[in-house]
Structures are given as structure tokens and as C-alpha cells.
């Protein structure tokens, strides 16, 4: 299994500012992902955080808005840039670990943009 922690757990931010969310895993993992859960909605994959190379973004998400770093196999950051109220969501870090490709999720970061 994998235990994932995220910082901060929640934040309230002003429009136009940026927030960086940290994700720490208790073991080395190859695959790490960032998901978004907008209020009352399901989870949507933002991007795959690749160690040693640029992140791979899903349709509708761009690097300028959601820059991602992955300096090693246990850590990643997601920045939400130039925030607007529409960015108010829960952002979840996720990893795949184990021989059966099981996916694990962090506790999420609840972001409110005013």
C-alpha cells in the first residue's frame, strides 16, 4: 500500500493569486497523478506527474495554469495559478503502487477562491 499526505489540507485564497499544493508518498512510486473534484462533482484527472520530465496534461488542462513538479519518486507539487472562483475544488494527489496496480488517493486539498 501507499500512504499519501498533502499540504495544505485546505486554504482560502484571493482571486489572481497562486497556490502550490504538496504531495508526499511514504514509498517510491513511478506513477503519480493529480485529480480535481469540483464542488458536488466527480473526480477529473488533471495530469500525470512524470519524474524527470514534463507532466502530461489531460484535455482541458494546461501547464501555464497547473504547473507540476516531480523532483523525485516520493514527492510532487501542483500549482494552481492566477486563481479564479472557478478553481475552487478539492485537489487530490494519487499514486499507483503494488503488483496489482492499485490506485491510492491522498486526503485532498480543499481550495476556496474568493
Amino acid at each position: 500500500s501507499a500512504v499519501i499526505s498533502q499540504k495544505p489540507s485546505r486554504d482560502i485564497c484571493q482571486r489572481g493569486t497562486s497556490l502550490t499544493i504538496q504531495c508526499q508518498v511514504d514509498s517510491q512510486v513511478t506513477m503519480m497523478f493529480w485529480y480535481r473534484q469540483q464542488p458536488g462533482q466527480s473526480l477529473t484527472l488533471i495530469a500525470t506527474a512524470n519524474q524527470g520530465s514534463e507532466a502530461t496534461y489531460e484535455s482541458g488542462f494546461v501547464i501555464d495554469k497547473f504547473p507540476i513538479s516531480r523532483p523525485n519518486l516520493t514527492f510532487s507539487t501542483l500549482t494552481v495559478s492566477n486563481m479564479s472562483p472557478e478553481d475552487s475544488s478539492i485537489y487530490l494527489c494519487s499514486v499507483v503502487a503494488g503488483s496489482t496496480d492499485t490506485q491510492y488517493f491522498g486526503p485532498g486539498t480543499r481550495l476556496t477562491v474568493l
Binding site: M31, M32, F33, Q41, S42, L43, T44, L45, T48, L92, S94, V95, V96, T100, D101, T102, Q103, Y104, F105, G106, P107, G108, R110
Partner: protein
Amino acid sequence: AQSVTQPDIHITVSEGASLELRCNYSYGATPYLFWYVQSPGQGLQLLLKYFSGDTLVQGIKGFEAEFKRSQSSFNLRKPSVHWSDAAEYFCAVGAAGTNAGKSTFGDGTTLTVKP
């Protein structure tokens, strides 16, 4: 493209009653299927998963799910619901290998448990 449909947005059951949450999926190959639970203010917890083999899968907290390829379904069941089961439940479809972790989630079903 893969997709997941959870037809029931909200379900209410009495404590002790049985539960079935529906999930239908669309996927081009053999799917990897998951059920997660999310309690208010909490992250997602994996209840169970189906990769291959026995189509009846046992999970944590007394939950089980049955994979029916002919119906493209993966319904979640529990014989007797507890008040602590009240939460949001998500069905997801994914893959293994290089596409592992890129899951598609349903819109979720909110479960309310009446005393």
C-alpha cells in the same frame, strides 16, 4: 473513450436494510473496475477492485461487487447497511500497465442511512 455511469444520484436506505449501488461502464478492453467511498471531508478510500478472475469481489467493510460483462455492470452490494456507511460512493474504470492510475470516475451516489 471510457466512461462510467452511476444512475442513482442519491439513495436512502434504512439501517439494517440491504443496499445495491449501480454502476455501468464503457471500456474498449477488459476493464479494471473500482469502488471508492468518500466520507464528508475525507479522501477516497478503496472499497474493492476487479481486475480478473472471480466476478464476485469481496471488499472491506462488508461490501461486495459483481462484474457482469454482458451487462457492462459492476454493482456494489451490502447485505446490511450501518449508519456509518452514509457517504458518497464512486465507481471508476481504469487500466493496468502504462495507463494505470488514469481512471474515469462516475458522478457518484450519495447514500443516506435512516435510523
